[in-house]
Amino acid sequence: MKSRILSIAILVLLNNACSLDIDPFEGVTKENLAEVTNALEYATNGAYSLMKDQLPYKGVNDFRSTYARNLHQMLEYPSDNVTLSATTTDPLFAAVTREHFPAQENSTYMWYVAYKIVNTANQNIESVEEGISPSSDHLLGENYFLRAMAHFDLLRLFAKPYSHGTDNPGIILRLNSTDPDNKARATVGESYEQVVSDLEKAAALMSRANGRGVEYASKEAAWALLSRAYLYMEMNDKAIQYASDVIESPKFQLVPGEDYLNSFWNTPSSRESILIIKHTLQDDRGTGSIGSMYLTDQIGWGEIYASEPLRQLLGQHPEDVRNDLIVPQYASDGVTVETRNGIPKYFITKHSYQDGVVTLNSPHVLRLAEMYLNRAEAYAKLGQDQLALDDINVIRQRAGLSGDALYSLTNLQGASSVLGAVLQERRLELAYEGHRSIDLYRNKLDMNRNFPGVQPQEVVSWQSPRNIYYIPQDELFTNRLATQNE
């Protein structure tokens, strides 16, 4: 009898112990996000961390790629600012040579992680209702910003510029985490509309009081990105307005010339930073960092150098502080610049030396100088030439130039138009920050790539289909409605 009672007791006990409703220990569900203390903040942080983490794709780790690195390389390497000194098996080679293919690893990674940011932002937005508290709304606003930013980055890489026609295929707009797998690309026009509407929503939700620092999106970051988006859309009044909002904000100021290098090395403490992708010491990617391709200083590949035409342009004014970002590697005689495959080794230090660590850097997403340049370009397009030149002279003066070195209506410093002068200054200031190619092509200008390097020697037409990347093959395999770029 005792044993019978015992066995019944065991049965009852274990029945209760083995409940089938087990909550996971390693994460939080979307449904619980709102209830767990600070979970929305951490989940929002997650979307930022996606920009610097090295993620596996389909179970395979890629110890090169991060969102920040791939975005940088895919935007900057096809330009005329930098030159690659030899072939490499790294898919960055396809970015340099523009010999793209649909299964290209860096573009597949970029596409996947950008949409991972979108998916994270979507799930965050779906998990919390608007209007619960100002701080919760602020975080919601950050998520709208992040979704817009990722969509915008995809537009820059995979769709033709807005100015080439709003009916061209844009990107797949993922606005719900429950979207069906098969979804077609929106037009370029629809895509940009979504980006600016998300950014305007973000700016409205975020308050200045709840800003979390330059490592996170803010009301001003939304304005800044709006100024860029409207500039690309050639809605110049709005571009000017949002740029001015940022410029007038007391939070930011251009750093003086003597702090110029440091403002790139230590972006977190720079007064000029609007939004950065923060890399802490744990996130030091070593040879996989952006800076590693540009610089060998004990560590680093150091295979990509400042291009000859850019060096010549900068060389016109040796006192220009922007020359200091370029560090020639001298041979032991101290005079001759060393070469690699015949290409002189002019290292670039814009993406290095955070806290003195060679390969550590937190790249800018947005910084104040771009706002002056955005506004200048918009003014130029509206025919307000003097206002345009005033803005670019602010940038030029900060770089240590004065007097005849400044732009005036009578001295455009070699440019043939005010817009040309703005673009020239934009090139100098925003070099190695991924702007150059897009700035030319959206303004329907060709790019001359006839300079020493492994890239094809050619003048690239603004209409070339290879100015953008192929939609990744994996998307076409699995999304029947997706269409390929020409």
């Binding site: 044993s3 019978r4 015992l6 066995s7 065991i10 049965l11 274990l14 029945n15 112990a17 083995c18 409940s19 089938l20 409703d21 087990i22 996971p24 220990f25 390693e26 994460g27 939080v28 569900t29 979307k30 996000l33 600070n38 979970a39 903040e41 951490y42 989940a43 942080n45 997650g46 979307a47 930022y48 961390s49 610097k52 983490d53 794709y57 389909k58 179970g59 597949t108 596409w111 996947y112 949409y115 991972k116 979108v118 998916n119 994270t120 799930q123 797949i172 993922r174 985490s177 797998d181 979804k183 923060k278 802490t280 990744p472 994996d474 998307e475 395999f477 699995t478 999304n479 997706a482």
Partner: protein
């Protein structure tokens, strides 16, 4: 008859003589003759022993015996395979003649089939039972390896020769693509558990749905039921068994070049001898290092086991301690295991029995850096690991004169670095059975399992691995705790010729696993503890908990022991799935007809002792996926700007549920002449709702999710034949042969899905209408005799992209374009099986066990590196296998392209060039055993003793050019990559019982 009388007379005479001679010793001699009750024919080979002693003899060819018994109280036990044993008190008799009746014992032999034990005749499913005797042979620390070649339809693969490594086991093919796994293991009636192979009493392999459906959601890959030894009711017996041997790697048909061979081959790669002499000055020939010989040494393997079995009052016990120590062949690797088992059975009352089983295992494994197993195959013979004084030297990229492409010296690293794992597992079982009435009983089976694994890596500052970080240390601890309870109510009732029995039960289970680990840089040489780390780096950890509940039942019925029907039903709930799909129903119906029990069959009874036709149909499941895949889960495992951060890793899928297999089996069991067993089975398994990792559009932000998608069919045929071919007094010869097939075909996949399984460029493609393991590669068409170029097929497509024809190309880029890839064979064998035999003469037994496999294609990936036609200059090369030739002059018809420095048109890239016939026949074990004569032993109070010599993996017959045609399915099934080679073992052993 006259002979009988004659012998009787002689016996009588002898008897009288003995009485006279031996009276003083109170001994007497008994003799007689043993015949079969059925046909009155003499029975040779019958064991006649004096009960309770070790004294005994065997009847001769005429069925006669004669032996001394201690006195009139003695009882003789007559036993013979296939016959009922008889016990006869001697009393004052000097002659005892006896007729033995054919055994129903064998039919009534109880086989543990998991939740219940059934007699052989009752069983309606496809079940194979092996005794401890039948599985012994190879000396390994795991049971799976011992099962190789022993059971039809069971495929066992020892993929690696690393010490302590487990084998992969597959029953009736692979029915799943992404959720594939080995069979469910049930130890002593409870799911899961651990055991030492030396403690195993019997193993039952359950193959068809009729047998496995009771295990429901976890049984799709079959079930292996392990029963450990129990205390005997007879007097205490202590057995000591020791085995010691040596082990040495076997590299099969694979041979590396020596310095001269390599030099001569490399010379062919250059058009200009000046260039060649510049790269390879003749001085390289001054060194000829056999790196394989330096890295892989002879190891010692030893296994010592002591066990005690017996009873005391109402308690029966089996206690065993076991020590296994395997010295790895590779550098500093080794494996040690200590195991203790205590099995106690208490008869609390006539109606209540309690069993407690306890098993504890401690193991230690010194493993290796991933580079170690393969690097010796790549080092150039021109290089030496030693400095000028003959000491092992440090090598890195700056070492002058070290030519091998990989600049390191594993001999150096192995001196200082540790890659260790340690494990502790404990299982405690409590089983309580209560007979409530003669026809109704209750049983509760419970187990708590605990496991703890710890891995420690230490990379010394002096080595190439540790140098750049001033020494590296990392460790991780994983702790697992699980509990399971199974509670059964059984009944057994006869209604005249109708027999009915069955049970209902409830089972609940919970597993919890937690891990934690950390690593750091800056370690003082020899300080191998985490506290000695100067610069801590990462910290990691996980926790997972899952639970399951089941209701189960079975009813078996038979009529006059001729017609048997059994039905089982199980309802499983698992926390792995979402609330929508948490519960699944499984079950089977099976039936058998024991034709040999029919009256009309009795005339054939002498020849065909058993004839049984059986069939089954049932549904089983598979839940082998990580937990919580149905939830959209944020994983907070990352950080941003030093703050907590996480993002969703899955998309919600509340409909994710069981993978389901519907399986049918038709089988026939025949026993001839009471000593030859034949079993034939055909099976068909249809698995749908496959748990598949489905690739999503990357624009969903999630690359892959688990979904129920796809359908695969496995079908096959199995044949097992075994028995005594010869059985006489002195000689017996037993042969066991089995063969099985398991062919699979993908029937459905989600629309538009192509699942590619890729390992570094080598591809298998899962496609509708094809085998799961289909090789999908550029098709190699040989060497161009004109110029020695490699040649493949390139697809020519029409405007719509359809392939219209193939043409020959020497451009790998064209041959490897997606449209040019072709299905060039499968890694699934046509058939596999084993042949085992033992031949005994008096006390001497020679046994051989072997396993074979036929018709599978193995991708010999090692050749991409060492048979690369110059593409991997500065790696050593393999010698050409038999029948291979290298192109040298126009017109040469050769298997290998012209060797070219730097490679010949990517001839070493993945293609069907490296696909080889993986068929083999391997002699797994040869053992010569000698049972010492009982008469001799009884003088030193030893009950039994035997000595043996044994050899493992001595011969392998294969055409495969690699080290080993046996390849696992890690990464890709059928991919032969560099690995820790398996070993040949030579062993001697001794076993003594007293």
């Amino acid at each position: 008859m006259s002979r009988f009388i004659l012998s009787l007379r002689i016996s009588t005479l002898l008897f009288c003589f003995c009485i006279i001679a031996l009276q003083g010793y109170a001994q007497q001699t008994v003799k007689g003759r043993v015949v079969s009750l059925l046909d009155k024919q003499p029975l040779p080979g019958v064991n006649v022993i004096v009960k309770g002693t070790t004294t005994g003899v065997v009847t001769d060819f005429d069925g006669k015996y004669s032996l001394e018994v201690p006195g009139q109280d003695a009882v003789l036990v007559f036993s013979f395979i296939g016959f009922e044993s008889e016990e006869v008190p001697v009393a004052s008799r000097s002659e005892i003649n006896i007729s033995l009746s054919p055994s129903v014992e064998e039919l009534n032999e109880v086989i543990v089939v998991g939740y219940s034990a059934k007699t052989k005749q009752e069983i309606t499913g496809s079940v194979v039972n092996l005794s401890a005797e039948e599985i012994k042979g190879v000396t390994v620390p795991n049971l799976e390896t011992m099962l190789q070649g022993k059971v039809a339809g069971v495929q066992v693969t020892s993929a690696t020769g690393a010490p302590g490594a487990a084998a992969e086991i597959r029953i009736r093919g692979n029915s799943s693509i992404n959720a594939d796994r080995g069979p469910l293991v049930v130890v002593d009636g409870i799911i899961g558990g651990s055991y030492n192979p030396n403690d195993v009493e019997s193993v039952t392999v359950l193959k068809d749905a009729g047998a496995i459906a009771l295990y429901g959601s976890r049984a799709n890959a079959g079930v292996i039921v392990v029963t450990t030894k129990k205390g005997s009711t007879e007097k205490t017996e202590i057995t000591v068994r020791s085995t010691v041997g040596t082990r040495q790697i076997t590299t099969g048909n694979f041979g590396l070049m020596n310095a001269q061979q390599l030099y001569d081959t490399e010379r062919l790669m250059f058009n200009s001898s000046a260039v060649f002499n510049g790269i390879r000055p003749a001085t390289v020939l001054e060194t000829d290092t056999d790196w394989l010989d330096l890295a892989y040494k002879t190891g010692i393997v030893q296994n010592h086991n002591i066990s005690a079995t017996g009873s005391s009052g109402k308690v029966r016990y089996y206690l065993a301690g076991d020590y296994y120590d395997e010295e790895g062949t590779l550098l500093s690797t080794n494996y040690q295991r200590l195991n203790f088992r205590s099995n106690l059975d208490f008869e609390l009352s006539d109606a209540v029995r309690l069993t407690t089983n306890f098993n504890i295992t401690r193991d230690k494994n010194n493993s290796y850096h991933w580079r170690w197993p393969y690097q010796p195959f790549l080092y150039l013979p021109y290089d030496t690991p030693y400095d000028e004084e003959g000491n092992i030297r440090y090598v890195d990229a700056n070492t002058p004169g070290f030519l091998t492409r990989d600049k390191n010296n594993i001999l150096h690293s192995a001196q200082y670095n540790d890659y260790a794992t340690r494990g502790l597992t404990m299982n405690g079982d409590v089983v309580l059975s209560v007979d409530v009435t003669p026809w109704f009983s209750l049983q509760t089976r419970n187990r708590i399992s605990y496991s703890n694994y710890r891995n420690d890596t230490y990379e010394d500052v002096r080595t190439i691995e540790g140098r750049s970080n001033s020494g590296i240390l990392s460790f991780g601890v994983t702790e697992g705790v699980s509990g399971i309870t199974t509670n059964l109510a059984r009944f057994y009732k006869d209604f005249g010729p109708h027999h009915l029995n069955g049970f209902i039960g409830f089972e609940a289970q919970q597993w919890t696993s937690e891990s934690a680990g950390a690593n750091g840089y800056g370690v003082v040489s020899g300080i191998k503890i985490p506290g000695g780390v100067a610069s801590p780096q990462g910290i990691s950890g996980t926790k997972v908990q899952t639970s399951a509940q089941s209701f189960l039942s079975e009813v078996s019925y038979d009529y006059r022991e001729k017609y048997f029907v059994s039905a089982s039903f199980r309802r499983d709930g698992s926390s792995v799935f979402g609330a929508n799909k948490r519960w699944g129903n499984f079950g089977a119906l099976s039936a058998s007809w024991l034709i040999s029990n029919e009256n009309f069959f009795s005339s054939l009874g002498k020849t065909v002792s058993l004839l049984k036709l059986r069939g089954s149909y049932g549904i089983v499941g598979n839940d082998n996926i990580p937990a919580f895949q149905y939830l959209a889960l944020y994983n907070f495992a990352t950080q941003y700007n030093g703050g907590s951060a996480g993002y969703p890793e899955t998309l919600p899928n509340p409909d994710l549920g069981w993978e389901q297999t519907k399986a049918a089996d038709l089988g026939l069991d025949i026993t001839l002449f009471n000593r030859l067993d034949i079993t034939v089975d055909g099976f068909y398994k249809d698995t749908d709702r496959l748990l598949s990792k489905v690739q999503l559009p990357p624009s969903q932000g999630i690359a892959e999710v688990w979904r129920n998608a796809g359908r695969v069919v496995n079908q096959g045929f199995e044949l097992g034949i075994g028995g005594d071919v010869v059985h006489t007094q002195n000689v017996s010869w037993n042969v066991n042969f089995n063969i099985g097939t398991a062919q699979n075909q993908v029937k459905e996949l989600p629309e538009g899905t192509i699942i590619n399984k890729v390992y570094d460029g080598v591809k298998q493609s899962v496609r509708v209408g094809e085998d799961i393991n289909s090789w999908y590669l550029p098709k190699w068409v040989g060497v161009d005799p004109e110029n020695g170029d490699p040649q493949w097929e390139q697809a020519v497509t029409d405007s719509e992209g359809n392939v219209v024809e193939y043409q020959v190309t020497n451009q790998y880029a064209l041959a490897s374009a997606t449209s040019s890839l072709q299905l060039v064979g499968t890694a699934t064998p046509d058939f596999f099986g084993g042949l085992n035999s033992s031949l005994s003469f008096k006390g001497l037994t020679l046994s051989v066990s072997s396993a074979f496999q036929y018709g599978n294609l193995v991708y010999h990936r090692t050749r991409e590196f060492v048979d690369a036609d110059g593409a991997n200059f500065n790696f050593n090369m393999m010698q050409l296998a038999d029948g291979w030739s290298r192109w040298q002059n126009p017109g040469d018809v050769a298997t290998h392209p012209k060797p070219v420095f730097g490679g010949n048109l990517q001839s070493n890239r993945p293609s069907s060039r490296y696909l080889e016939d993986g068929s083999f026949w391997r002699i797994r074990n040869i053992m010569l055993n000698y049972n010492l004569p009982g008469a001799l032993l009884s003088k030193v109070k030893i009950a039994r003793a035997n000595i043996f010599i044994s050899g493992d993996n001595l011969f392998t017959f294969t055409k495969f050019s690699g080290m080993d045609p046996e390849v696992g399915s890690f990464g890709l099934a059928g991919l032969s990559d560099f690995k820790y080679p398996i070993s040949k073992q030579y062993l001697v052993g001794l076993q003594i019982s007293f």
